[in-house]
Each structure stands twice: as structure tokens, then as C-alpha cells.
Amino acid sequence: MASSRFWAGSDDDSSEDASDASSVEEEKVKTANRWATVSDSESSDEGERVVKSAKDRAWDGMKAVIAKIGNSKKIGDWNGIQTEFENLNKMVDKAKMHIMKEGLPRFYVRTLAELEDFLFEALKDKEAQKKMSASNGRSLNRMKLTLRKHNKTYESQIAAYKADPDAPDAEDDAASSDDSSSDDDSSDDDSSDDDDSDDDSDASESEKEKKAEKPKKEAKNLEDMDSDDWASSESESSESESEEETGALKGRAKWLKTTVVTTKRVKKEKKVDPKKKEKKVEDAASLASKAKSSLAALKLDEPMSGETFDKKLLEVVASRGRKGTDARELLAALEALAGKAKRSFGYARELGALMHLIAAQFDANRTIDDYMDVATWRSCHGQLGRVVAVLSAHPGVSLGSIDDDDFADMHVAHALAKKKKGEDEDEEEDEKPEAAAAPNDDPDAVKVVGNLLTFLARLEDEYVKSLQRINPHTHEYVSRLRDEAPLTDLAAGVQAYYVRVGDDKAAATVALLRVEHMYYKHESIASAVRDAQAYRAKWGNRGDAHAASRHAAVATERDASKSHPGAWLGAATAAATAPDDEVVGDASASVRKLCEYVYAHGDDRCRTRALLCHVAHHALHGRFYVARDLLLMSHLQDTAYMSDVETQILYNRSMVMLGLCAFRNGLIHDAHACLAEICSSRVKELLAQGMQSARFSDKNPEQEKAERRRQTPYHMHINLDLLECCHLTAAMLLEVPNMSVEAGGAGGHKRPISRHFRKHLDIFNRQVFTGPPENTRDHVLCAAKALGVGDWKTCADLVLRLDVWALVPGAGEGDRVKAMIEDKIKAEALRTYLFAYSSAYDALSLPQLCDMFQLPKNVAHGLVSKMMINRELKGAWDQPTETIVLHRLEPSPLQALALHYADKAAALVEARPAAAYGDAQRRRGDRRDGGNRGSNANYKARHGDNQDRRTASQRRW
């Protein structure tokens, strides 16, 4: 803080003093320079992209440590000296490469020599030694030993140094000595002289003067300690430029000149400054405070020109991500800049500042598993919203992106401008760095850091992450959910922008993002959410409204004695609004529109995901056939297992939703085909709805983390209980008659339809003691047992008793589904009954059957007829009497054996070729697959080719 203020203050002085500084222009140049140097100084603790070489960085690091050693020396802290010395040696070790190339840096040798001397003196002063603390003394002793040993290696250099201690620094880098470095040195000398002569109130200074043998060096040290080693760092950098000879001649010349300017300025300032030196010394210790001060010192409230604004922005941005920069400070500065830009500099600068601000906010969280806190998220959202608003207010403006080159160019341009101003006072004040960086681009493209799409994606990502982390049963979660609509609205804005710019691909990505936040909501919920959102936006929290006004109609008679005045205007209402391309109150149309856009413009993954979302949305609203056709037409079943895990999860979700939809529509067969494989095992994992307990999982921590990261947020969960219930009920309705065929012996051995169901039924049957059913599965299994003996009433009662049916989305849907299930149970009970017990009858009368199963006549007739046609029931109608006449075929034992034998022989022949060709394994596999294909024949038949969902799912992970 102090140093900058101090610079700023000195500026005026210098301009007064300076003989040639008279015009305002000049003043501006000065200001500019000041900023430039601040940035340079900051870069000394971390390499600056453009000018620093690795060597310089190493050198600077060493210098910093040396400065610390100097500090410790002053207070006689041997402990500190020792640790820093070790540090220094480590650095030297690291910088071996450079040292080999450049030779040992002179300042290092100097330090060694000085340390030796200092140590020598300290050892001589026995009294002081006695006063030392124990640890300090120990350090001193150790230092003595190490230094002696250490210095042996550098004996010759130290000797050389001692012979000529006053030789200029630059001689160390003998090869590179040039104008600038000598110039620089002279400045060093000057400044240190100044310090020496003018400054005596300072304690450290006076201490320094006691050791007056090498005043210059000490002064130099002090400079280091103050870490305002402007000149030397500047000169270093310019040296590095020239040494490496990487830059073009032009660049080099430019840098050289810059240096000249800077050094001169430093000289001047030094001359005036010393009076305030103490302040500087007080505050100069920590780097962090310096960074802070640099931000705070931007004087953002000052009026500034566009030019200075750009520079300030650049300054602030340059400090981003640097060690010791306070993120909050940075954000505040950026925010202030953005606000200023909005007020006075037009959209181009505002966009630039906003984008920087947003980028900086995203920087804040460090690890992948952290989520951005809600406040930051909201402000981020607001800023992105502002960007979009600006963009939509200025059609014709587009965003370009700045890459590293541009950034470097900007710095160069910056420097160039500086030089120009310094030399011939060029009046191109308003030339933006953006424009300088991209002279060839079209003028409407504002170059900004980052890109809108990425930011939006990040924002969405953070939102989802926060939902994953926040406990879903808290108020926080609920209030977080309110941010979804603003998010999608923002996405709509971004999409509109990309459409306008003509970047369809990005627009499609954004559209997909919107779809992904819409598809899982039932229309009724979506519209309710929209309304609530609109209400909140207009009136605030519903709870805050006066109780009397909440449900009131508009009062015609305003009489305070009859009604509360708060109710006179009626309940507050707000019409829901939606982005242009969304249809208010018709989520399906919106989803369709967005999906169609993605289909037309998105890449493969986007299209796949959009399609799955679309399918899920259809399924959620009970449009099974539409959803099914959409899914089948895409042939996604073939490729689902090849996609990324997130898409596979989405696929599973869609498939499950489709299955539930089929179930609700009474399409038991389809429902079972859709649900069977996902529900049979690891449902939670397949749907990413919760983790398996770590004890049973075979995953390593890394995989587990990854799984945790892709969890579906709670509000999007598909109710697992309902899912299991639907799956098991469907399996029961299919499997129980199937099993009774087997048991009745009519159809021989039949392939199980649902192994999962059979397994559970087996376990259930084997239980020694069967208590009353407790969970969903128990209920269904009990029901299955009842169904097995044709007792439809118990069965229906058990299944329908479950609470989960209330979870079926849509008003009144639950009851409808229940009624449907009851009908299905009746029908299947009739079938089961006939399979199991028809052999015990000669004839059955239809009215009696209808009575038994509470079925209308035509339904029962149809069912029985179907069984007859399919040869499941051997019998025929006697039409006039409405009875089923059963043709009993009880084969004699011999005949039965003959049939059995024929079967076996056929099986043998069947197995033979397989055995002969040695691919029995494959054959058997084929057969099973073939059977499976039969089970979802509906899905196969349409696009005959091998879209075996089962195999797809098996390879799902």
C-alpha cells in the first residue's frame, strides 16, 4: 500500500522537478509508466510470461533469499541465517544448469564473502555470543562449520571477489554486459548513494552504517530487502532478452529503450523519495500486502480515460492467480472496473472486464470436488446475464477469444504504446489493446478472455455439483433449486447469441444444456415452477405476503370493516414468462423445439443426449409409442454401450422412464422388456442414484470418486421404490402364468421370462418362516404366490396396498394405474387358473369364470379364445351354452414315454452338429440370445437387425 501511494505521491514531485516535464501528455506518460513498473515489480516473485527467462527467475529467487539473510544478519538471528542459507544453497543447486552456463552469479559470491566476514566478526565478539539464546548459538556454531566447508568449493571466486569487491555486478555476467546493464548499475549506485546520504532516521539504516566497510553493498542489500529492486530486475530482464537473443532486433531495441526510460524515472524518484523512506520500510515486508496494495491502489474511483482503464484492467488481470493475491480483492477490483466500464466506456470494455471477472470467479475453487458457493454462483450468473444482455442489446457485436498469443501481444502493445508516448507523445489515446492485438479482425468482434459457452457450461457444472453435495433434505437444497430457471433462461440468452453469431454448434450445445434441465420435469411441475418463479421475481417470497391477501379475489367493495385492506387488490399474480423459443405452459413443445435444434446442428454426442432427453420427456408424459419410435429410429441401443458413462447413465434413465411409461400404459410386456436388465442388478449404480456402500464395492477410491461426481442430483431421481414395484409387478404378471404352464405340465419346460423374479421367488419360498410382507418386494412376492393359485383378490390387494402408486406422476394417474393393474391381475389370474387347473375339469362355463374373476364376458372370452388359438389351452367353445369343452388328452404311460423319447432324440440330434463342429458353447449362447430376442420382439421386429439390448447393457460398463 504504502509504496504505491508513495510512488503516486512522488509523481507530482518528479514532474515538478523534472526540467523537461511540462505538458499534460508527459504527465500521462508518467502515470502509464508507473503502472507498468508496478506490474514489473510484481512479476519478480513469479515469472512474467513475456520477458522472464528461467534463469532470471532463479536469480530473482536467490536474491530474495539473500535479502532475507541480510535481514537476519541485521538482527543477529543466526537461526534465520542458517535456514535461509540452506535455502539459498538449495536454489543454487537447482540453478546448476544456469550457473554452468553463466558462471556463478556475483551476488551469490558476494553473499558468501559477506557471510564469512560477518561470521568471523560474530565469532570474535565473545560477549555477544554469550548473550545469545541457546538455539541461536547452536546455529552460529553450525553455520561456522557449514560455511567453512561450503566456501571451500568457491574459494577462488571468493578470493577474486575480495580482491575487487567494488567491481560492477554486470561483470558477473561478463558476456552480456551492455549499455543497459551499465546504465542500470549507475542507477543502482546513484540510488544507494541517495539512500545513504539522506536517510539516517531509519533504524536499519543506521545499523547498516555501523558496518560501513562496504556501504554500497549493504545499500544494495537493503534495496533487495525492500524488494523494490526495480532497476536491477528491469535490467536483468533486459539482459536476458539480449543474452538469449531470442527476440527480434526490434523487440530487443524496444526493450532496451524501455529500460532506459524506467531507470531514469527510478533515478528521479529516488531523488525525491527518501523523506518517506521509513514508511516504505515499515510496510515493505510481505509480498502479499504488496499485491493487495497494487490492487487497492488502482484508484478505481478516479476518473480515467479508456486507455488507462485498459491498463488498469490489464494490471488487475496480471495479478490474477499469483501467489499472495487476495482473490476477494481481485474480484472487488474487477467488479469495480466492470461497473465503471458500464457507466462510461461502452460495451466493448465492459464485456472484457466482465469476462475477466467471471473467469476470476471460476478460479476461486481449487479442487474438482468443491462446488462454488451459492453467493458467488449467483453473482457469476448475474454477470453472465449482464454479458448476454449487453450482447443482445448490441446486435452485431460478437465475442472473440483471446489466446495466449493475443495476451502476449497485448503486453507488447502495452509496452509499445509506452515507448511511443515516451518518445513522440503519440496521441492515439483511445486505441484499445484489443484493437492493437487484433487489427485484422472485424471491428465488431470484441476480444475477451475465455468464452461464453465454457463459462455457461462451468456455471451449470457448478450448479449440478452443488446439488450433488448439498443435503437434499435441507432448505438449502430447495432454495438452490430456484436457481435452475434463471440458469436455463441465461442459457436461452446465450443460445440466442450463438444463433445470431451463426455458431450453430455452440448454440446446439447450449440448447442441449437447456434440455437437460427440462426433460425430467413433468409438465405440471414445470409449469408450477415457472409460475412460482414468476411470482417470486415480481412479488418476492410468497410467505412474505400478508396472510389476508394470499388467496383473496379482487375486492369490489373496499370497506375496511368487512375485509382486510391487504386483500383488496386480490392475491398477487404473475404471468409466467419464458424465453422466446420456449412455449409458456407447454414444456413438451419447448423440449421438442430445442431437441430438434440440437438434432439439426449438434455434434454426435449432443444429438444422442438430446434424443435421450426427448425420449425420457415423452415417456414421462405417457407418450410411450412416440418415445419408443424415437428411440428405435435412432438405433441407439446398438451404440449406447460405446458412449461415455454420463450418456450411458442418461440412456439407462431414459430406458427406465420408458419402461415406467409402458407400465403406466398397461403395456406390461414392453415395460418388462425395458426394465428387466437395469432393475435386475445394481440399479443405483446404473442410474447414478446413490453409491453402493464402500464395503461391498470392488472399486478403487479413484473410481469411487468418479462415480460420486456423476451422481444424479436428488430432485432428478427416479423413485427406486416405484421402479422396483413396477418391475416386479410386470415380472409377476408375465412370469406367474408362465410358471403355471410348467407346473400344469401342459406346455413342457418353458424358458423363464424374468430370472430376477424367479430368483427372488425361490428365496421367498425357501424361507422357513414367512412373516407378513414388509417391503415392496415382499408384497409383490406374496401377491405372486396368491396369483399362482388364481386368487386374484388377495394378489390385487397386496399389490395395490403399496404406497408407491401415489408417486406416479400426473394428477389422478395413480388411481388409473391401480385400476389398470387390477384388470391385468384379473386377466392373468384367469390364465394362471386355466393353466394350472384346467386338467381337473371336463368343461367350464364362461359365466362362472367371469364371476370368479370379475371379468366382463367379452374380455374373458377373448382371453380364453386366445389361449385356444395359441394351443395353450386344449379345448373349444361350445357356443350355444357358453362353455369351454376341454379336450383331455391323457396319454398312456407308453405313449408318454414315446413322446419323451422323441423329444430326447430330437435334442440329441440338435446337440450333435454343435458337438461335431466343436462350437457347442457358441450355439448355446446363440439360443439364449435368440430367446431373449423373442421377449422383446416388439423392439426387434421394427428394425430387424441385431439390436440386442441385453448385450448392450451387459457391456454397459
Binding site: Y625, D629, M633, N858, H861, G862, S865, K866, M868, I869, K874, A876, W877, D878, Q879, P880, T881, V885, H887, L889, P891, Q895, A898, L899, A902, D903, A905, A906, V909, R912, P913, A916, A937, N938, A941, R942, H943, G944
Partner: protein, 450 residues
């Protein structure tokens, strides 16, 4: 040419004919192919004559049959303001006619050389005999190059647009034969020419030629290698165009089953035009020899869900999916109505009714031992006497193993339980064959091994 689809925009009344598919079909047809449909509608259904005329007028707009258009326009007159709204005036059309004539003359001049060579049928025959009926020979002899052929093709298209289908057909015939002799892959214009020729043949009611072209087109669509979506579209067109052929050609009833149940075309039907299942269903029902396809068809129908409007498929669904005989009986009456108002199916309505009845009866018999004849006549939408006679005919024709109990007026079915012996025979029938096959396979294997 093929890409032109005409949407008949006539303001058709909904109650006119609820089973009319013309509006669904016409977008898949060429404008010219819709005219027969409109003619049929005018004669047989209760559409308002004016609206049909108007539809015709709209159809004519993109074609070159300006004279015809003018005629209709005049007939409609200005009295019918609502109907002629938006249609060009007679004067505009006359101006257009002149333009058409001019264009025609210009084109005619261009193709004169080619036309001269190919005009003389005898000369062409001669050439064919000599083996010089090839593009290369014509180029050598008469200097007819690719550019000429392009003009020739253009002119043929122009003629087609003018309604001169015969001329167009002949020209396209030459064009295809010379430019794309057998074995040469069709290019885009050849492909279009083929569609044009097919259309001309259909309009000329030359079913034999049309059937041939249909086969060629079918192969061409597969070969042409258009993107899948386009192929799907082309298949849909082909399906619709083929209706003309299949319901007019003697062998059409087999052809339609083959084509429509082909997997790719079935897919096209399901995706683009499920209403075509009506035609397929009809064809399957009236084709006694192809009963085996019934199962496939039933499967397809169970998968379709928005066919509730179509009585023909509904009939099949009632009969074979729901076994709802009353429903089948209800829909059968509707089927009659629907078929008689359908351009393609009106000729086979009687056959359909007959066969449908047989279907019902057959299914009914399969699951009954005793049927009341009164009941039966109800189900078959027949009078009692007639029904009895019908059953007797069936019994006499040995189609039915049954007897009539005249006292109870019942049909008593013979029980056809398969005996255990026949079961065993069935099961073991192919054992010896398969064993023999296995043996030979083993032998070859052993030979290989040695």
C-alpha cells in the same frame, strides 16, 4: 420429376368420407398421378365437385398443362369466389401458355437431331438388330453427344409436364436404353428419367411396363447410394406409386406383399406412411396363397398404435390380436364402406369381404365345437339362409370338417385333436434327415482332416 409432390389443398369436408386416404397419399405422388385419384373422388364420393376442381387447379399450377387448367378455371368461373381465391386469373394463365409454347419450341429445336434419328421406329429396329443401338454408335454416326442427351431428357420431362405421357415415355425409353444400357450405373438424371418413365407407364396404364420399371427403380434405389433419409423418402414414394401397379396388374397381389413386407420397405411404411398398411392388409386377406404372411402382418399391426382410424387393419387386429369377434364384425361393415371409396381398392372390395368372412369363420371354427347358425350369420354380416348355404358349401368343398345339426340349427365341428402317434411322427420326422446331413458333414470333415 420424382421430387414433385402435390398437396391437394382442396377444402375437403371431413364428413365426406372418413376413411379417405387421398390427402395422406397425394403428397407422396407426382402431381400427374393424383389426377386419376381426383377423378375417382369426383365420381364416387360426396366431396363437393367445386372443391375437387379447385384441387385439380392447384395441382395443375406447376405443370405445363395450361390448357386444361384454363378450362377448369373458366368452368369454376368467378362466381365461386371462395374457391378460386388465390388462383391465377385466366389471363395470367394464357400468358403462361404462350410461354410454355415458346419453351417447347425452343426445346424441340434443340433436340431435333436426336429426335430425327430415333423417330423412325423401323430405323431403330434396324439399329437394334445391327447392334448399333448404342450411345457410342450414335455419336460416331450422327454426332450426338452428352449435351444432346441432356436436352433430350429435358424435352421428355417437358412433354411429361404437358401431359404427353406417351411421347415422354418413348423418349425416356430411348434415353435410358442408350445412355444407361444394362450394367451401367444410373446417374442422377438417369434416376430421374427412370422415375419419369415409371410415372408415364402408370399414367398410360401400361401395367406390364410399369411393373418392370418398378423392379428397376427398386434396385436403383438400393444401388444409388443416396443418404439413408433420402432413400427412405424414395422408398415411400415407390410404395405409393406402386399401388397403381399392384392393384391393376394381374400379379400385383403377390407383388405388393413381397414389396411391402420387405424389411426396408416395411421400415419405410412404419416411419413415413403407416396408412399403407391398409393396402397390405387387403392384399394379404384376398391372397389365399399367401396365408403365411398373415403372421408377419399381424405382428406389424400390433406394433402400430395409431391405426385406430383404419377399419381394415382394425379388423385384423380384432380378429387376431384381441379375438374380439363382435369387434371384427363391426369393423367388417366399416371396411366395406372404406374399400368402396378407395381408388385402389374399390375393385377388390367384394373379394375382400368374402375372404374376410372366411377368415372370421375359420378362426371361429378353430375354437368352437358347436356354433349356432343364427349367431354365425350375425357374425358374418349375412342372412341366416345365406349363411347356412355358405357353410354347407364349405363343408362340401372339404374346407371344413363339420356337420350341421339342423334340429338345433347348429354347426358341430369335428374335433381335430392330434393323436399321440402323429405327434411322435412329427417330432421324429426330420431326425433321419438331420442324421444323414450330420454324417455327410462328418465325412467331409474327416476327409479334410486327412
Amino acid at each position: 420429376m420424382a421430387s414433385e409432390t402435390a398437396q391437394s389443398t382442396a377444402s375437403k369436408k371431413v364428413d365426406a368420407s372418413e376413411y379417405d386416404l387421398t390427402q395422406k397419399i397425394s403428397p407422396f405422388l407426382d402431381a400427374h398421378l393424383v389426377f386419376p385419384l381426383l377423378d375417382f373422388l369426383e365420381e364416387n364420393t360426396s366431396y363437393e365437385a367445386g372443391s375437387v376442381q379447385r384441387a385439380r387447379l392447384d395441382l395443375l399450377a406447376p405443370t405445363n398443362m395450361v390448357d386444361y387448367a384454363i378450362e377448369i378455371r373458366s368452368a369454376l368461373g368467378d362466381a365461386n369466389a371462395a374457391l378460386v381465391e388465390g388462383a391465377p386469373s385466366v389471363e395470367a394463365m394464357e400468358a403462361r401458355r404462350d410461354a410454355v409454347f415458346e419453351a417447347m419450341e425452343a426445346l424441340e429445336a434443340k433436340v431435333q437431331r436426336v429426335a430425327e434419328v430415333l423417330e423412325d421406329a423401323e430405323a431403330v429396329e434396324q439399329m437394334k438388330r445391327d447392334g448399333t443401338y448404342t450411345a457410342a454408335d450414335l455419336e460416331a454416326k450422327h454426332g450426338i453427344g452428352p449435351a444432346n442427351w441432356a436436352d433430350y431428357f429435358e424435352f421428355a420431362k417437358f412433354l411429361y409436364e404437358c401431359g404427353d405421357y406417351e411421347g415422354a415415355r418413348d423418349m425416356l425409353d430411348h434415353y435410358l436404353a442408350l445412355c444407361f444400357p444394362a450394367g451401367k450405373k444410373l446417374d442422377a438424371s438417369g434416376f430421374r428419367a427412370l422415375w419419369g418413365k415409371f410415372g408415364s407407364e402408370v399414367l398410360l396404364k401400361n401395367w406390364e411396363g410399369a411393373l418392370h420399371d418398378l423392379g428397376r427403380l427398386r434396385a436403383a434405389i438400393d444401388d444409388f447410394g443416396a443418404p439413408p433419409l433420402e432413400q427412405l423418402q424414395q422408398r415411400s414414394w415407390l410404395l405409393h406409386w406402386s399401388l397403381f401397379v399392384f392393384f391393376n396388374h394381374a400379379k400385383g397381389h403377390d407383388g405388393i406383399i413381397d414389396l411391402f413386407l420387405n424389411e426396408k420397405y416395411l421400415q419405410a411404411i412404419q416411419t413415413n406412411c403407416p396408412w399403407l398398411l391398409r393396402y397390405l392388409t387387403t392384399a394379404v386377406i384376398i391372397n389365399k396363397r399367401r396365408r403365411s404372411t398373415l403372421k408377419d402382418l399381424v405382428r406389424v399391426i400390433t406394433m402400430e398404435h395409431d391405426l385406430k382410424a383404419d377399419p381394415v387393419t382394425q379388423f385384423l387386429e380384432c380378429l387376431y390380436v384381441k379375438f374380439d369377434f363382435e369387434g371384427a364384425q363391426r369393423t367388417l361393415a366399416e371396411c366395406d364402406k372404406a374399400l368402396r371409396s378407395d381408388y385402389f381398392l374399390c375393385n377388390c372390395a367384394d373379394a375382400f369381404m368374402e375372404d374376410a368372412r372366411l377368415f372370421v369363420f375359420e378362426t371361429y371354427c378353430r375354437i368352437h365345437t358347436k356354433i349356432d347358425i343364427g349367431m354365425l350369420s350375425d357374425k358374418l354380416v349375412m342372412e341366416r339362409e345365406k349363411a347356412e348355404r355358405w357353410v354347407v358349401d364349405l363343408i362340401r368343398g372339404a374346407l371344413l370338417d363339420a356337420k350341421i345339426d339342423s334340429q338345433d340349427s347348429c354347426v358341430v365341428m369335428g374335433t381335430d385333436t392330434t393323436s399321440v402317434y402323429s405327434q411322435v411322427i412329427d417330432k421324429t420326422r426330420d431326425l433321419s434327415n438331420r442324421s444323414a446331413a450330420l454324417l455327410s458333414a462328418l465325412e467331409t470333415k474327416i476327409c479334410e482332416a486327412n
